[in-house]
Each structure stands twice: as C-alpha cells, then as structure tokens.
Symmetry: C2
C-alpha cells in the first residue's frame, strides 16, 4: 500500500501516463522541502499540513485530492484520497491511501507526526474545512504558514526557470501569429478565440491559476480602443468589459477600428508555470499622447532592465517607474485611471500569476536571484484606450534577463 | 455617493458599458433576496455578509470586489471597494463606496445593520479573512449560510433558464461543428483548441466556475481511446491525463485513431450560466462491449427522461441508473472504474458547475421544479476508453425538459 522514497516504477503505470521526463525531478522536490523545513524550524513549527492543490503539487510533484504532511524533520508523506495510482507514478514521496478524511488522525499517529504547533495555508483554506480539521486534531495549535510557502516558492530553481521558458515560448508563438488575425472590423472576441486556440495547439495547459478567493484570470484579453480604458473589480491596470456583468473582464464584441490602440495581454501556461506578457498593436497610426506614452512605457522598461539587481526594493522599482511616468506628464494615466488605478507595476510569476515579489507600494523585501516577475508599465486614457507593454524577467546575480524573445516595439499593421 | 433603489441611469456609464438588456433584472434580484431572507428568518439570522464573487453576483447583479450585507428584513446594501462606477450601472441595490476594509464596522452601524447572529459563506471564505472579520466585528456569532444559499440558487427563475438556454446554444454550435475537425491522426489538443475557439466566437464567456477550494473545471475535454479511461483527482467519471502532472486533467497530445471512442465533454458559459454536455464520436466502427454500453447509456437517459418528476429523490434516480447499468453487465464500468469511480450520475448547473441537486449517493432532498441538472451516464473500459452521454435538463411541473437540441446518437465519422 505504501512505498518509501523514489517513484514506484514497478507500479502499474496509469493508462496514458505522462512520460517521466515531464515530471518534477526527485532532487527538486527534496530541495524544496528542505528549504521549507528550514523556515518551519525558524517559526517553531512541528508539522505542516498542505491541502491547496498548487502548494501540494509544488511540494510533491503530483496534483491529487490529498493531504501532504511535512514534519519539521524527516520525510514528508502524502495521504491520497484520489488518485493513488497516479500519485505513486508522479511523486518521489511516500504515499498512503486514504479512504476517508476521518482516518487522518490514526494515520498521522502511525507515522509519528508528533507535536502540536501545526502550520496550514490559512490564506486559502475555507473556514468549514478548518473546523473539520480542528475537530479531528483537538490539540493542534494552528498557525498560518502561507507567507513561508510564498517565500520558498518565490525563488525559482533551474528546473522551474526551464519550465517558465517553455511557457514563454507559447507567448512568443501567439504574439508572432497575432498580426495575421488583427483586421479592421473583426471583433476582439474573434481574435481572442483564434489566439487561444493557437496557444493551446502549441501546448498551453488550458488555464492560468491565481491564488485566493475570487481571483480569476483569463488566458487572454484583447482590448481595442476604449475597451482598454474600461476598469473592473480586477486588481489589474486593464481589464475590459468582458461579455457580461457575470464575468466583467476580458475581450468584448467590440469591433477593432483603425488608428486605435489594441492591447493584447496573454498568459502562457506550461507544466503549471505561468508567463504573462502584453503588446500594443495598431492598424494605421497611433496618435499622441498615446504614441508618446508607449515610448515612455519602453523607457521605463529599459531603465528597469539596465538597473535592477538582487537586493533592490520592489517598492522602490515601482516608485521609480511612477516618477518617470509623472515626469513625462502621464502620472494620471499610469497603471490605471481614477478608480481603476492599481499600486504596482509588476508581479511575481510561477505556478500562480500573483506570486511574490509584487513590485508595488508596501513591498520592501529585497529582490533575490531566482525571482521571476512580469513588469507591466501601462497607460490608460479614458474613452480612448490603453497602451503599454508587459515583459517577463528572471532575476540573476548581475541583473535581470528576459524570458521571451518577441520584440517590444509598437506593432503597426 | 449612494443611491436608493433602481439603477442609477443618470450616473456616467463606464466606458464600453454593457447594454442594460444583458443585466439581471431588478425584480429578479429582489425576488432572490426575498426568498433568501425567508430562509434567514427560519435560521434566526439577523444579517448575512456575502463575499464570494458568484454569490455576490447572484444577489446583486454585479461582480465587484465588495461586501454585500443582507439584513433579515429591509434592503440589502453593497459596499464596493472596486469598481463603484460599474457597480452602480449594474445593480439595483444601494451601493456605498468603501475605501478600506477597516471602514466596514462604521458603515454597518450607519446603515443600522444590527444584531449579532450573522451568516457567512463558510464553505469558501478563507480562515485568514474570517479572522480579520471577527476582529472587526467582535460581537458577531458567525454561522455557515452556504446551504441556504445553495438551496435558493438551486431553483432557477425564468430569467435564469433563458440564460441557460443561451449557454446551451453554444454547446449545440460546438457539437454541430465538431465532426468537421475530428480526423484520424489529429491530436486531442488540436480539436480542443479549435472547438474552444468556436465556442468563444459564439459568445462563450471564457471559463467555467466550480465552487470550492481546488475545484478546477476546463471548458472542454477531448478524450480518445485510453485517454477516456485515465482517471485523476477530479470528482468526475472521466478526466484524461492533461498535458502535465500540474494540470492532471483534459486533452492530451494523443492522436485520434480509427475504431476508438472519442468522448467530448464541453461546457457552455453565457452571462455566468454554465451548461455541460458530452457526446461520443468514432471514426470507423465502435465495437462491443463499448457499442453496447453506449446503448445502455441512452436507455438509462431515456428512462430518466420519461419518469423523473418533481418530488423524486436524486439518490433514487442515481440508484435506478446504477441498477440498470448493473443488469446490463456494466456495473464495474459505470461512472468510472476502480479508483476512478464516482458516486453520482448527475449534478446541478447554474452559475457554478457543481450546484444542487447532486444526483448521487446520499442526496435525498426531493427534486423541485426549476432545478437544472446535467445527467451523464458514462462507462469506462480500462485501457480502451470511455463511452457515454451527458445532457442538460430543467425540471418542470410535469417532468424534465432538455436544454439543448443536438442529437444524442453515437456520431460515426
């Protein structure tokens, strides 16, 4: 029923199983766990219980309905409700079948996961599940461990950076093909559908993940003219109207017109890893002040690229961008307008689209080598639309390096 | 800053605002609230605080970052953090701007939302948000009100059924076009991409919602041959391998072959409302026992269609299907195989894909007119694939009525 260390190659592979090469390497999983256990020790935790699917995948290499127990020292164990057969094929960790949630206390005792200071992902675990767990484990003192998880996840390994590059290749492919489909009179929605399909056929995983209640992220936004200046509930500089008040973001039935900015924000997704870039297109001619604002977006990006180093404050990077936008006379338009304004210019990327670091107000923890982020200076002009760019970077010892290769210029059709 | 009753037509419409005709009618919102307030009274609640985006949209007609307070008697009020401008265009309810979460207690007092028995959506609200709320409202006794919400939402109004029919038209369109793209040697992924694009260009909202932590639902699964018998963490009879262990469901790079079943599960989405249907295709010839199993799936569907009435037990409908599958000799294959088996044959549909009623083990609350559900008898043959059908129904006073019109026969190409 169980196994110790190493994937169970002898186990019957599930039908249509994924090839081993696509799986997270064993040493990668062990390194993630070791880093996390160090943070657990600093916080004085005896045990951590991981339930959220993305964290569970990050620490085990498999995405199952299950409960991952990580002790302060020693081996983690995955109690799997569904699907055990796939779990043992995908994770190097010990797996134990779990028929019912109620068996957990006995299993935890069997595995000598002792101690009562227990960490959980309290930023995402719903209250009723939390109560059920407290009923099973009456002596647990439960602490939030979501910051420690986010910190470990914010430093990407070489394996992760490879996956992010693969994700970026989908973005390059989609932007390379976009110009063929952007035509006067075509709806945003039609372009959205075609580009989504192209991304998918090039291996896009299907959807993007965003951490937290009510966080929804579409794979693509195609926003032309004033769609670019329509804001929403989303904590993003652009969002569009979407097709209805029920979705409230994304491409609409608006037809693309000449001489109006067309902003395409597209997120790649490969083996869980998300990329997120934006380009601005125009059929005909982009006029000032929008054309000038696009140049300022490129300037801001260029300055960031040439100056940012590990140790820099993410908030300071944001403030420098804000200052540059203000000096160019576009302070009011930068990163939204009026109620739509957001207080950041970039965000971390990984298995979720809202990872750390956030390059924005209040985020002071210094950048570190291995951080991956999207940088997105954008300008919104009410009633006219938006212009801007978004590029993804990995932080290296001596600066930042782009993930994708598609050019950054305004694309004139 | 605020308004009483009726949408604020005088307010400046946000750029690219949606036309009024697509918004949830005022009388619809008032009727939903009145039904819910009746349930609140039964439970002895003074107040309910709604935060989850789908519930907030259901009860207000607008999807915002905000807090909807529903008193036991009198008018509900939406405190809007972002986006106020869109909120007042979309909801008939009173809206109040909220700069910061911490202002809530003062605003609640201003609006005389008294009493301390307060309902919240504890099935989805994360623990850390819950703690923040408890810190602001120290005297609140907080009870879970998710069952009451699900009950009200499980009975669809005429307006909702119209939206669901519009959603079903996207499903009809996608299935009508599917046969053109299913070819020997084409990958599941390529068919997935094209059909997703067709759905989107016909007004698909972009993604489907599923309630709860870790619940992820793709718009489409194209599963050929043994992909149909690959199970996963998903609580669904079929899931496929997906492109990687990070997603673990959905279409794969497998090429479609002759004489193998191809199962396409596609979900429509219109104005928030989800539909969910499945058809089986084959290039060449489907052999027994799979062909025979498909006929049994149609038999089970036919019996359900002709017999089900309001008042029936959802569990009983499931047991009858199970019995019929067993008598035909396909008990082991019905609704999954081995670890992949699920204990239901249908599920409610609405703004989320896992609404009430669930036609499965343990669900005894009688069907009511206005329930909408997907019915999906499916058979899984390990290593060979899956066959089956899924159709959507609305429960009427005298029986059930289909939502879509695309034929139910096995599609031979």
């Amino acid at each position: 029923m169980t196994k110790e260390g190493g994937r169970d190659i002898s186990a019957t592979s599930p039908a249509n199983a994924l090839p081993m090469k696509d799986l997270t390497p064993s040493e990668e999983i062990r390194s993630r766990l070791a880093k996390f256990q160090k943070k657990m020790a600093e916080k004085g935790l005896d045990l951590v219980l991981i339930i959220q699917n993305v964290d569970l995948f990050y620490f085990s290499g498999t995405l199952q309905k299950g409960y991952l127990f990580i002790p302060a020292e020693g081996d983690a164990c995955l109690f799997v409700q569904k699907n055990y057969e796939r779990a043992i094929h995908e994770t190097p960790l010990k797996c134990v079948r779990l028929e019912s949630f109620k068996e957990l206390p006995a299993l935890v005792q069997d595995h000598q996961f002792n101690g009562n200071r227990v960490g959980m992902e309290l930023d995402v675990i719903p209250v009723s599940l939390f109560y059920r767990i407290k009923t099973l484990f009456k002596n647990w003192e439960i602490l939030d461990v979501s910051s420690e998880i986010k910190e470990v996840r914010s430093i990407k390994s070489d394996f992760e950076i490879e996956q992010i590059h693969m994700s970026g290749r989908i973005v390059d492919e989609v932007f390379s093909q976009a110009r063929q489909y952007i035509r006067e009179g075509v709806t945003e929605l039609a372009v959205d559908g075609i580009l989504t399909s192209i991304g998918r056929s090039h291996g896009h995983q299907g959807f993007l993940r965003m951490r937290g209640l009510n966080q929804e992220m579409m794979n693509i936004h195609v926003l032309s003219g004033e769609s670019g200046s329509t804001h929403s509930f989303c904590d993003t500089p652009l969002s569009g109207s979407g097709l209805s008040s029920a979705i409230a973001q994304g491409s609409s039935r608006r037809r693309i017109l000449r001489d109006q900015p067309i902003v395409i924000d597209y997120g790649g997704g490969y083996n869980g890893y998300v990329t997120d870039e934006t380009r601005t297109f125009v059929i005909g001619r982009l006029r000032d002040p929008l054309l000038r604002a696009y140049e300022v977006a490129l300037d801001i990006t260029g300055e960031m690229e040439s100056s940012v180093r590990p140790g820099d404050s993410p908030m300071h990077i944001y403030e420098r961008a804000l200052e540059k936008a203000g000096k160019a006379g576009f302070g009011e338009n930068f990163m939204g307008h009026g109620e739509g304004k957001v207080a950041f210019v970039g965000h971390g990327l990984g298995l979720e689209i809202n990872e750390w670091p956030i390059l924005g107000r209040g985020y002071r923890k210094p950048l570190q080598a291995g951080n991956v982020f999207a940088f997105e200076p954008k300008f919104i002009f009410p009633g006219e639309g938006a212009v801007g760019i978004e590029l993804d970077y990995v932080v290296k010892e001596n600066g930042v390096e782009r993930i994708t290769s598609f050019p950054t210029e305004l694309i004139v059709l």
